[in-house]
Amino acid sequence: MESVGRILSRPAAWLGDALDLLLGPLQRLVGTRRMGYFFILPNMLVFGIFILLPMLLNFAYGFTSGSSILLHNREYTGLRNFELLLECDLSFLNPGSGNFFNPNVCQYDRFWRAVNNTTVFVVFQVGIMVLFALVTALALNRKISGRGFFRSVYFYPVLLSPVVVALIWKWILQPQGVLNGLLTGWGVEPQPFLTAPDWARLWVIFVSVWAQMGFHTLILLAGLQAIPAEMYEAAAIDGGGLWQRFRRITLPLLMPTLMVVLVLSLIRAVQVFDQVFVLTSGGPGTATLYMVQFIFQTAFDQQNYGLAAAASLLLAAALLILTLFQLRLGRTSEIA
């Protein structure tokens, strides 16, 4: 009687024989060293067609104008789209004529509003989230009762789709939502949580932190658990306090993980779209209009594909510079 393992190994052997039949002659033709290229070919084809080609097309669109989708029907306009986006009335340099952060002095004020909003969102969302994720990971790394339960609780929002998260919070925050219902019950005036600019900005950051913190907490927790316990024991024997142990052991050893978390959360924060689109649609006014929504609306509401592509290229450039800067910072701190 044949064992199950032996029976199951047969199809694998047949598959191996079939592949050998197919790839054997090829290997003999190109040599063993070059066979690697053939193995990555399927992946490269998918990458090329669905990622690289659209990226190149997007790049080309950034230098054209017109409403046609087909590149050959579009007019080459050089840097015109970039000039339009970056064109601001520099008379603000004269005292009393405006200020640098006032998008109203720029031709495409909505672009600059999106830039300003995205910058504020990234700084606060990433800063608050990484800080809270670190504190939570430190707490969950200790031997506290119900540790497994708390780990799950913090991670659950990550499992929800961003759209679902936004719908839940919209239900809570809308003018006649749950939170205002509670406030009214307590005799407090209903608050314009999603219809006043400052409130809306605040809640967008809060909801985003709430939804994503668990993921980053988990990564940081894994980083914390990789730090050998003996180092803390040795520090304790040498009289190192809690703060010193955190500053001298935890933080330096966690730095590579922290950098990963920072880069990931930064990229994700710059790309913010779906959650905010459902929660506030970018409003009130343009208070929560971020870069990706600006690009989306410029392309698909206004059919201004060239300008949208130019804006996306500027965003990609900013993101690239930020990531390189962060990685360099991380490497410097590692060396130190």
């Binding site: 031709q107 219809t195 649609s281 409003g283 009130p284 208070a287 206004q302 201004n304």
Partner: protein, 424 residues
């Protein structure tokens, strides 16, 4: 070999002769790209089934797409040379030069010229010299207000007369809301959809003019300012729910949910809401359509609606013409209008009137508005850059409401947005 060749040739000949009728009747499959607001797709299918029964050999496939993606999908198809035979669209300017001129393919072109509103025919033509017939309106829409009559009755406030102004209507609605509103169930006097299109009607009634002789736009007129200030005041004074206009940075937002939930006294929308109100409100309260409130220059709504067009790339123009003739025939349009609760876009039928089985009163209030629509309302609606103006007004006024700019700045921005568009 030779003794087989004659029978073989005979067999081939017989086979070809036998196949000829089949070849002659090769079935034609027409594709129509369609979106649905309500039940119109279902009604269309029913009408098409009858057309197919009367025209063996022609089948019509409805390719249903969500409205949000309709024009993007069509643009990609048109530019790739893969346009459907026909489509139901709302932005005629998107496909200028790609429409099928139906003139040689319909039975009586004069019937079409007589019954398709001239502004609609013109909206599909890409130049003044163009005399083609490219499609027909599946329905006509008119913007106009609704009131919650039950709230007026409960508050003991008299419903203003049909020729009342916006100010008189809003005063009355405010009195109703102040009488009945409480913290448990806030009632708002007035709301207007987050849409520049909805704004056009009141502004034209207040003597705003938009379109210059050369086709460009001028925004800053006393009528525009007056109407914009009116909408801003509704927000500043808490008369209108804040989340309709302030709750978005770039979408059309209807205020219908407030009206349906009985929290709105006066709602500026349009006749397309009638079917939805009848279904959602039922007997919960008494609602009715009212004529557009008057301004100094009139009391106009703005027309709109969807058009069915043929595309020039079709391989079956004769069949498309035959189907168009059928769909735009008076009995078919009448049945479509009755079953969908749409206003017909057929001049003969508009003149004759349609006896709706449901919501007859409300629909006829809107039908009665059609003769009073101001010429500029048509010009705006069918202007190639009309949709852009609609969006610019909507988004810029929202920015004023959110405190990002003043009304003066918003007017300057709308003008600059439009100027940049014409320059492009």
């Amino acid at each position: 070999m030779r003794r087989y060749s004659v029978p073989i040739l005979l067999m081939v000949f017989v086979l070809i002769v036998a196949a000829l009728p089949a070849l002659a009747q090769e079935p034609v499959e027409l594709h129509i790209t369609w979106y649905n607001d309500g039940n119109e797709g279902e009604v269309l299918r029913d009408l098409l089934d009858r057309f197919e029964a009367a025209n063996p050999g022609i089948t019509v496939v409805i390719d249903e797409v969500p409205y949000a993606d309709l024009h993007t999908i069509l643009q990609a198809q048109v530019e790739a040379g893969e346009a459907p035979d026909m489509a139901r669209i709302t932005f005629p300017n998107r496909f200028f030069g790609h429409y099928l001129d139906l003139t040689p393919y319909v039975a009586d072109p004069q019937y079409w010229i007589d019954n398709v509103p001239a502004a609609v025919l013109g909206s599909l033509r890409d130049s003044e010299d163009d005399t083609g017939i490219y499609g027909y309106p599946t329905q006509f829409t008119v913007t106009g207000p609704f009131i919650n009559a039950t709230l007026f009755e409960q508050a003991g406030v008299e419903i203003p007369a049909d020729d009342a102004t916006w100010e008189e209507w809003v005063d009355a609605a405010t009195e109703v809301a102040e009488t009945l509103s409480d913290s448990e169930m806030p009632i708002y006097p007035v709301a207007i959809d987050r849409s520049g299109h909805r704004f056009w009607g009141p502004s034209l009634s207040n003597c705003a003019t938009y379109v210059n002789e050369d086709g460009t736009f001028t925004i800053d007129t006393p009528g525009f300012r007056q109407t914009a200030q009116m909408v801003l005041d509704w927000h500043n004074n808490g008369l209108m729910p804040a989340d309709i206009w302030a709750g978005s940075a770039g979408n059309y937002v209807p205020a219908a949910p407030y009206f349906i939930s009985g929290q709105l006294v006066l709602y500026m929308a349009g006749n397309w809401q009638i079917g939805s109100f009848a279904q959602s409100i039922g007997d919960a309260f008494d609602w009715r359509a009212i004529p557009n409130p008057a301004g100094e220059c009139g009391a106009t709504g703005v027309p709109g609606g969807a058009l069915v067009v043929g595309f020039a790339g079709t391989r079956h123009p004769e069949e498309v013409g035959r189907l168009m003739d059928y769909l735009f025939s008076e009995p078919v349009i009448e049945e479509f209008s009755i079953r969908t609760s749409f206003l017909p876009g057929h001049l003969g039928l508009i003149e004759r009137g349609v006896a709706y089985e449901a919501n007859n009163e409300a629909l006829n209030v809107f039908a009665a508005m059609i003769p009073d629509l101001m010429p500029e309302a048509y010009t705006l609606q069918y202007h190639p850059q009309g949709p852009d103006l609609n969006i610019a007004i909507r988004d810029r006024l929202s920015q004023v409401i959110a405190g990002e700019m003043t009304l003066d700045e918003a007017i300057g921005r709308i003008q600059a947005d439009m100027d940049a568009l014409f320059a492009r």
